[in-house]
Symmetry: D3
């Protein structure tokens, strides 16, 4: 059975494939730069994913939140650690973040269910 996370990932993959067809060096380089920003370096990848998650929450982008939560779950962050990151984002960004907090909590629950079902 498919849920909104599956739909998001399918859409994301389809459009990323479509964008890869576009012959524009700047667009291609930006996508590569974006991927590289979360690779292991002086900071481990998992920590950078959490930074990306909090940045996405205060900038209030649900797709970005979903992407980084999935990466954070894969990277082994636990619920109580992610709730701490949610809290920093909420305090910095204010109540305008609350609808995105609801979304993030739901996404995290969906992601966990998928992990257990594996």
């Amino acid at each position: 059975m498919s849920d909104r996370l599956d739909e998001f990932q399918a859409y994301r993959e389809r459009m990323n494939a479509r964008m890869a067809e576009i012959d524009h060096l700047g667009l291609k380089r930006f996508i590569n730069l974006d991927t590289a920003a979360y690779a292991d370096g002086a900071l481990p990848a998992r920590q950078k994913e959490m930074l990306g998650l909090v940045a996405s929450m205060v900038l209030r982008c649900n797709d970005c939140i979903d992407y980084h939560i999935l990466q954070c779950v894969d990277a082994g962050w636990k619920e109580e650690e992610l709730y701490e990151a949610f809290n920093v984002a909420l305090v910095v960004g204010g109540s305008i973040v609350i609808p995105h907090l609801r979304h993030a909590v739901e996404t995290l629950d969906l992601a966990r269910r998928k992990e257990i079902a594996k």
Copy 2:
């Protein structure tokens, strides 16, 4: 000799003292909540300071950037780790973050000089 970081800290302390005189429960509680968000918990304080720094950079607030850089330096984060955080903020937030990146690099340099001078 005083620099812009000293001035920022003096202004911040003076206005925080002024705000503490204001008899409004909501304002007082928010300030407490803000402080509490960066205390040790399921995530260590130093990691939350770095989350706060990246959030401040993508939201483009120089005073918030200065505050969190000083906290991050106190918490023992090294230059190459902070540059990684700067990079995540730059990629997420885009070139509009560059003036704040300049500011952050300068603040970090100033903060290190103060540490050595101690």
Copy 3:
């Protein structure tokens, strides 16, 4: 018959209940602080709801707009008064607010229909 306002309220209630299960003091306190910010005080609750509405419009958050419109209608604000608030938000926030203005006008119409149907 259910409309998008009913769905929004059902989702909001379900996720608020889910968030109430999360054992994180910071998150709980923020939610309480948010509720308290709109209680009667030196300014009446109804006036603060209108402030929350305009803040939500310039920050372009449809869920927040819906929530505050429902509160404003309950608090007795009339159409022509709410249109004035919409106008301030539009002028301050610019044409990027227009899609949220459309949403707000639709929400207000839906809310009035519900009131009459009571």
Copy 4:
């Protein structure tokens, strides 16, 4: 067969008609000012539409992006020119713009298909 662009345009027209019923001079004037901002003047209309598109992308408003892409296609901008505008928006606005870039690429593809089908 109707797609999301048709739905967007139908909703937009319906709500614009609804808003035209509202007797508020400020709202009416703003809508007129918004229309006038994209008319031929010292800069041709087509160039201003592209400015509106980039502004909409960095401010991350999908409805505004759709509207300006349709106008840009009507005004004769070619794919490779629009990709350049997308790239400026991506670099200025950062990776938080990527979900809106996906949306914009999809909208442009849909708009072209409609043009060919005419």
Copy 5:
């Protein structure tokens, strides 16, 4: 003796005079629309000034905050009422608003001192 509020007002007046020389109908109309948005109507002017203040705080624009605080003081809003508006802005906009809250508190203090000195 001149302070930062006097300097802001002098700069504002000088640049508004300079902008009035620019022969662009759109710019002129926007300025008029902005002024008209805060005139008495279905909502009294003083209430709209407070809406403008909260919008300015959550959008984090110090010049706009200063302008609306001066208007609110002229309109007779009392300290404890303005603190309530500050609190709504802080809760909606989050800790990123705190530097602007410090600025707003300082501006309000400066404005009161000027009133007494009259």
Copy 6:
């Protein structure tokens, strides 16, 4: 005699030189990508500078505005064309852009005076 544009350019050059010393591939690549985004391509460089200007205005970054105005003046854009771009930014971004419009008008005046003095 030096003015705020000279100071901005001196600071910008000094900090860009400092940032060039930082050994972080991601940061270096982003800076290169940013430069490349405004090079001649399917759109001429001068048009992309104007896109960058409007993006900077709606995102309300004075340093970015100054940089792109100087580039636009060098690229041969005339006053009445730049006022059109200012107007699009103002309508899209709203009255919160007005302090940045004042800044932009002043910067353009300063830049013209420098050109004449050459």
